[in-house]
């Protein structure tokens, strides 16, 4: 048939493009927010828009951001891992002990990643094996892992690390290229995570089980296996964050990365990932990382104390998540 008469059963391939849909996208709001933050910071401090300052600023958020990427997948799939900061402590402790025993830098990295993966596997096994809610399991393992580090370290710190190890945390991509290794790693991982979540089989399955785990199981998706491996992935990313963080600060202390888990969750939620699972994007999370990271950096440039920055970041999160709801209400009134 060459001529088709449109009738009411004709179905278009996709919804008609509407500019309002684009404007109401979460990512659009984040871009505007980011532009505001940059403009504001440029206005309050002449040192903000400086390539060296900006690249140094990334040291402060790259480690959390790496954890946030994996956390985003986990939250999209309807789980959460609140033990990531404690995993960082355990991984850092393992690296410290290994370093004292004389392990080489590549060995230390491997140990950090492996310990992270093992902790993640432990979480994943508890969640999928016993059918326990991940929020409860990881609140438990949060105390367990952190407690372990505290028992071993007491109030001591391990500070003996080889110089080549420190270079990973403090170093740049190359001489004259002022981009830190940790930030570069974050960007590369963000690209990979975005591709996996939005373009691949696994990504689609993560969204499916996040929206309806029962229907996902009925559709042949190995829901528990995916959940388990996402916990392993999150643990591994926490291990990687431990490598960068330990190398950067050059020491392992029992309270290392304290509160990281909530900052990572904040990045994910501000990034537009639904805390109930099933929706969200990696570009959104990356934008949220920049919004939070640059706000903190800008304010610290003008000597706003860290405690006050926390208050501001909290307010930012609340404002950003209520903004679309307020917008929708205003638009709804007009319609």
């Amino acid at each position: 048939m060459s001529v088709t008469t449109p009738n009411r059963y004709d179905v278009a391939d996709r919804a008609p493009f509407r500019i309002a849909d684009l404007l109401l996208r979460w990512e659009t709001i984040l871009v505007l927010l980011l532009a505001t933050v940059i403009a504001f910071n440029t206005y309050i401090s002449p040192y903000f828009l400086d390539i060296y300052n900006l690249s140094d600023a990334t040291f402060n958020f790259s480690e959390k951001a790496i954890v946030a990427l994996a956390m985003a997948l986990l939250i999209v799939s309807r789980d959460i891992d609140l033990s990531v900061a404690a995993i960082i402590a355990v991984a850092s402790l393992a690296m410290g002990e290994a370093s004292v025993a004389g392990a080489s830098t590549p060995m230390l990295i491997l140990i950090g990643l492996a310990v992270g993966a093992a902790c993640g596997a432990f979480n994943g096994a508890l969640v999928t094996g016993f059918g326990l809610p991940s929020i409860v399991v990881t609140i438990g393992t949060m105390s367990l892992f952190r407690g372990l580090a505290q028992v071993v370290l007491e109030d001591q710190a391990i500070t003996k690390y080889p110089p080549s190890f420190a270079a990973i945390g403090q170093g740049y991509l190359a001489k004259g290229v002022p981009i830190p290794i940790s930030f570069t790693t974050f960007l590369i991982l963000a690209a990979i995570f975005a591709y996996v979540l939005h373009r691949t089989l696994i990504g689609r399955r993560i969204f499916a089980q996040g929206n309806n785990p029962v229907a996902a199981r009925f559709s042949g998706i190995p829901v528990d296996r995916i959940r388990f491996w996402l916990f392993v992935l999150t643990g591994t990313m926490a291990g990687l964050a431990a490598v960068f963080l330990t190398a950067r600060i050059g020491s392992t202390r029992p309270n290392i990365a304290l509160g990281f888990e909530l900052e990572a969750v904040t990045m994910v939620v501000l990034g537009g990932v639904s805390i109930t699972g099933g929706s969200g994007t990696i570009p959104g999370v990356v934008l949220a990382v920049f919004v939070l990271g640059l706000t903190t950096f800008g304010l610290s440039l003008v000597n706003v104390p860290g405690i006050v920055i926390n208050v501001l970041n909290g307010s930012l999160l609340i404002a950003a998540i209520s903004l679309p709801i307020i917008a929708r209400r205003l638009l709804g009134k007009r319609a």
Binding site: I202, A208, S219
Partner: protein, 527 residues
């Protein structure tokens, strides 16, 4: 063909402003809806709909799922605001800013699933939102309880004001909801499929209450898919189709066939479109399949092109057996052979790989991912087909969705439309499409037409015949006797986890099947 030509002109509201409602059978309708339209992005939900409802009258609102009944109810209860048109209550034009405003003007709705507070008492449920207060601003429990008791007494309900709601059955909960409407002196009561969860006896009770409400001069808008009820209880009817009003009149002037024709827009063959197709080789051979608790010693064979009906009462273990076959519950013993090859089904993905497809009973909970679009749902069970080294090709997904969607006559604005926005029938078509995309050899349909409209139901039945004709083996699990007797080549009856008997097509009456299912027809099983 345009059906608009058949449209009868709606009765118009008498423009005279009007009076007191104590005049019960006054000529001014209690509720007058005129030329109401409502659109959503991409969907025209209601177009130029009119409706009048007089005191002491029961009006049946009929139409298929997706015809616009729910939208109309939501306008009347203040959840949606109409784009155009007017609603008058007792002659006064009203606009409802919110559900509370609709409630205040005397419109109350009783829903399919009762929305109430399980952990509160009956009295608290009745007066939630308008509890009587003492002058000092505390809840006046004494008044609340005595008024509740009076209302419950009027309805001859079994519950007392202090009963916890969760202790009540569905029918009693309905009575509490009606009491709640009466506590506000609602004059217009909307009943949205109130009988769907009720037993025969409870339905009788409901009829009695409706008669009582009529006698008190209240008006009732009664939404139902069951013609038996409509003819039993309604005085007048209004039919919606695709958001338009296609007719109205007195119930005594029409037959069921007339209404069905109006609802679907074409005469519908009420009989089942059974196709006679050649039956081929054995596809499925189940031997002594058992699990720990739900089913035991299940053995049967199924051939190409054959439709096997699986009948049983609720709790007989039919769905559980099918889930066992699909790898969703673990088997204790037994063998399953597909085309002669013994297979081990330890997961749903193994079952899919073996060529088994399962359309589950709970469409929204188990079958569909409602926030996903049609495309993403269609390809969910066969995603590997559309991926190369893990990367999904959306273009190929769209091609497959288009061809399956057209084949199943899915009605939607576009292929990316969220499944949650489609009607139940169209959702079910997409779920069936999802399974056809896996190119199965065996298709299990568990209550495939439950809760979907007549048009979609006929389409599903027709499609089943077509698939059997193409050589698919089908297991049809159904609680609806006409469906199973009309469609199946053979019927297996289950009772308490076991197969009790088997009938070939046409060999048993409905009574024989039911008595076997209730455990009293054993003799034939051992024949």
């Amino acid at each position: 063909m345009r059906w608009a030509s058949q449209r009868l002109s709606p009765t118009f509201v008498t423009p005279t402003p009007l009076p007191n409602l104590s005049v019960l059978m006054a000529p001014t309708p209690l509720l007058a809806v005129s030329s109401v339209s409502k659109s959503f992005p991409g969907v025209r939900a209601l177009h130029n709909v009119g409706l009048t409802l007089r005191a002491g009258e029961v009006m049946a609102l009929i139409g298929e799922n997706g015809a616009g009944k729910s939208t109309l109810v939501k306008i009347l209860t203040g959840i949606y605001t109409p784009d155009e048109g007017e609603v008058r209550v007792a002659g006064q034009p009203v606009t409802f800013a919110n559900p509370r405003a609709a409630w205040a003007s005397g419109i109350a709705a009783i829903h399919q699933e009762t929305v109430m507070f399980d952990d509160l008492s009956v009295a608290e449920n009745i007066f939630m939102g308008h509890m009587p207060m003492t002058p000092r601003g505390r809840v006046d429990w004494a008044t609340m309880k005595s008024k509740s008791a009076e209302l419950l007494g009027r309805l001859e309900a079994d519950s007392t004001p202090d009963t916890m709601l969760k202790r009540l059955g569905v029918a009693q909960k309905h009575l509490v909801e009606i009491a709640r409407a009466l506590s506000h002196d609602a004059r217009i009561i909307i009943m949205d499929e109130p009988t769907s969860a009720l037993s025969e006896r409870e339905i009788g009770e409901l009829y009695r209450i409706v008669e009582q409400l009529k006698a008190q001069g209240r008006a009732i808008l009664f939404i139902s898919h069951k013609f038996q009820e409509i003819f039993r209880i309604a005085d007048r009817w209004t039919c919606l189709r695709d958001g338009e009003q296609v007719g109205d009149g007195n119930i005594k002037d029409v037959t069921q066939a007339d209404l069905v024709k109006l609802m679907v827009g074409r005469p519908i063959d009420q009989a089942f479109p059974k196709r006679i197709v050649p039956i081929g080789d054995i596809v499925l051979d189940v031997e002594d399949m058992s699990n720990a608790t739900e089913f035991d010693g299940i053995s049967f064979k199924l051939r190409k092109g054959e439709i096997l009906g699986l009948y049983g009462l609720v709790g007989a273990g039919r769905s559980e057996t099918m889930m066992g076959l699909f790898g969703l519950t673990s088997l204790m013993r037994g063998t399953v052979r597909i085309e002669g090859q013994p297979i081990s089904i330890d997961s749903s993905s193994a079952a899919i790989a073996a060529g088994i497809a399962y359309v589950p009973e709970d469409r929204q909970g188990q079958g569909a991912v409602l926030p996903f679009g049609i495309r993403e749902n269609m390809t969910l069970a066969s995603l590997e087909e559309f991926a190369q080294r893990g990367t999904i090709s959306q273009a190929r997904e769209l091609d497959a969705t288009r061809s399956l969607g057209r084949r199943l006559a899915v009605k939607a604005a576009n292929w990316e439309q969220r499944l949650g926005e489609l009607s139940g029938g169209n959702q079910q078509k997409v779920v069936i499409g999802k399974w056809l995309a896996t190119k199965p050899r065996l298709l299990i349909l568990d209550e495939p037409t439950k809760g979907i409209d007549i048009g979609s139901k006929a389409a599903v039945h027709d499609f089943m015949g077509e698939l059997a004709g193409e050589g698919l083996a089908i297991i049809l699990v159904s609680s609806e006797l006409p469906e199973i007797m009309g469609m199946a080549d053979r019927i297996i009856v289950m009772h308490e986890g076991r197969i009790v008997t088997e009938f070939v097509r046409g060999a048993a009456t409905a009574e024989q099947i039911v008595s076997a299912a209730s455990g009293s027809g054993h003799s034939e099983a051992h024949a």
